[in-house]
Structure formats: C-alpha cells, structure tokens
C-alpha cells in the first residue's frame, strides 16, 4: 500500500506520521513536497499537523493555496482517502474539502494533553475498527481547534452522519468546539479531518496501553484492502 505525507513549510508532525505509516505499518510511504504539482498513485494522502506558514493569518489559510493542493483536491474528489490531522484538518476546512471553520480555543490557550473521545460514526474508512459510541483516548495539541459551523450546516453534518469523533463531553472538550466536534468527514466519507493526533498513540512505548491511534490506521488499511480494484483512480 502506498501513502503520501505532504510537507508544507512549517509542517512539524510530518515525520511523526511518516514514522507510523512506514515503520509501524508497512505502507510504502513518500514525503510529498508542497511545491509538487502532481500526485502519483496513492492509497492514502495525509496532511500532517504543524504550523503551516506559521499559521500567522488563520491556521491553514495559506497552505490551502500550495501547489500540491490542486492535485490533492482532485485526488479527494475522485474518492481517494485523505486524512487531515490537526493543522491538516484546518487546511481541509480552508480548502472546502470539509465544511465549517476553526476558531481559536475558548480559553485562548494552546492545549496539549490526552483527552477522551467518542466514536460517533464507526462506518467510515478511518474508524471501522472501533465500536460505535466507543470511548477512546487520544492526545490533542492545538491552539485553534474550536470548530464552528452554522446551524443548517450542522444539521447536514448530522443528517449525513459526518460527525465522526466527538469529545466525550463538555468537560473533555479542550477548545469549546460546537457540539463537541473533534473530527468530521465529507459526505462521501473519503476525506476525514480531526484535531487529535492518532500518530501519537500508535506505539506502546510512547502511549502505554493505548492502541486507539493504531486502530485508526488499521481501519484505513482495512478499507484499502476491501476496496481492492473496485476503486479506480
């Protein structure tokens, strides 16, 4: 299986994801430079965490215009699997691959800690190895994770079952996001963005007794296997 991790200027979790895909799982993984104008055949594209372009204007606002984003958007529109983690999620929002927008955290503070999430939709390519409503643990590390969408946008998300991950409850919500939203997918389910960092809880050594990140990647592998050739790029 072939995965690509995009490096934008200021990405800083790119090698963390690479490490998991390439060393923990046996994805044949490339680092993709933001200036590339084309994409090879990939089974998975990851937009990693970090501070693309310093996130000085709005997180993800400038990265969204990087050369690589055109082929990524095309890849997504053709059904390719796109995973946006943290800053990657913000980039997916800015580039309208996912609906809504990110505001600065409620308490204006950057927050880095483990939090509890509820798997609200376990039928996506990214969550099929969890149980519905299962409570899982994942680290967050962000200053702008306060998800917002207007009322009828929210209704659509609910109707189409696009809310994939929620913070377990208000007390676990680290940023004040609407409806405790932590991760959403597009209508088709092939584009997924989340604030928590699955790559930070996929190895026993740095996340003892926590395979909740690991299972996000096995979900993806499972999906890719099932797709087989059905999925024409």
């Amino acid at each position: 299986m072939k995965a690509g991790v995009v490096t934008f200027p200021g990405s800083n979790c790119d090698y963390d994801v690479f490490n998991v895909l390439d060393n923990i799982f046996d994805f044949d993984t490339d680092m993709i430079w933001h200036k590339d104008k084309t994409l090879d055949d990939y089974d998975l594209i990851v937009l990693p965490g970090g501070f693309s372009y310093g996130d000085y204007l709005r997180s993800g606002a400038i990265a969204r215009f990087a050369d690589i984003m055109e082929p990524v958007i095309e890849f997504a529109n053709n059904g390719g699997l796109v995973l946006g983690i943290c800053n990657g999620f913000q980039i997916l929002l800015e580039s309208n691959l996912l609906p809504g927008a990110m505001k600065v955290n409620d308490n204006l503070k950057f927050v880095c800690k483990n939090i509890k999430l509820e798997v609200s939709n376990n039928l996506t390519p990214f969550t099929n190895q969890y149980n519905k409503k299962e409570i899982i643990d994942m680290p967050v590390a962000h200053g702008e994770g306060n998800y917002y969408i207007d009322q009828n946008g929210l209704n659509k998300l609910k109707k189409n079952n696009q809310i994939v991950l929620r913070y377990k409850d208000n007390s676990e919500n680290p940023n004040g996001s609407l409806n405790n939203i932590a991760g959403i997918c597009n209508k088709e389910g092939n584009v997924f963005g989340l604030m928590p960092h699955p790559e930070r809880c996929s190895e026993e050594i740095i996340a003892p007794n926590n395979n909740d990140g690991y299972r996000m990647f096995t979900s993806i592998i499972n999906e890719i296997t099932n797709r087989g050739d059905k999925f024409a790029r």
């Binding site: 204007l57 709005r58 606002a61 400038i62 215009f65 929002l93 800015e94 809504g100 927008a101 505001k103 600065v104 955290n105 409620d106 308490n107 204006l108 306060n146 917002y148 969408i149 004040g176």
Partner: protein, 86 residues
C-alpha cells in the same frame, strides 16, 4: 499609482468570539464595569503598487479578502482605500 488599503475583519454577528469574551473579562477584572461588549478581529494595512484605476484596486482588494485575508465562512470584512501621494 499606489494605494493604501486598511482592512478590518471580524467574526460574523452571532458567532461567539472567544477573544472578545476574554478581553471583556480582562477589562472587568481591571474594574472597568461599563464595558457592554467587545469584539476582537484583525486589522491589516496593505500598500498596492501601480494600479491606475480605483475600481480595479477595489476589485483586487475584495478578491484578496474573499480568497485569503478573511474566511467568508465566519468572518466579515470592511476596507478603506486611499490613493497615496507621490
């Protein structure tokens, strides 16, 4: 001709503004009790080179705001355009 543009962006009405909230509490804790509301947004000053026509300049600014400077999903923007001397 050169133009100076002043742009203000701000969250749309009805969208909770965490920064505004924090500033308001901050002011209250300093004993300023007649603060009714606070909104915090961004302020930008941009200088544009050689554009002859004002409407061209306006179009350009609006395009830049829609595309990059403001996030239409949650932000409104206002701008002011001034011809620069010399």
């Amino acid at each position: 001709m050169d133009w100076e543009v002043k742009i203000e962006t701000k969250l749309k009405d009805g969208i909770l503004d965490p920064q505004g909230k924090a500033v308001k509490t901050g002011l209250e804790s300093l004993g300023y009790n007649n603060v009714k509301s606070v909104f915090v947004g961004k302020y930008m000053e941009i200088v544009l080179n050689d554009i002859d026509d004002k409407t061209d300049a306006q179009e350009l600014v609006e395009e830049m705001c829609e595309k990059l400077l403001a996030n239409p999903v949650i932000e409104d923007y206002k701008y002011e355009l001034m011809k620069m001397e010399g």
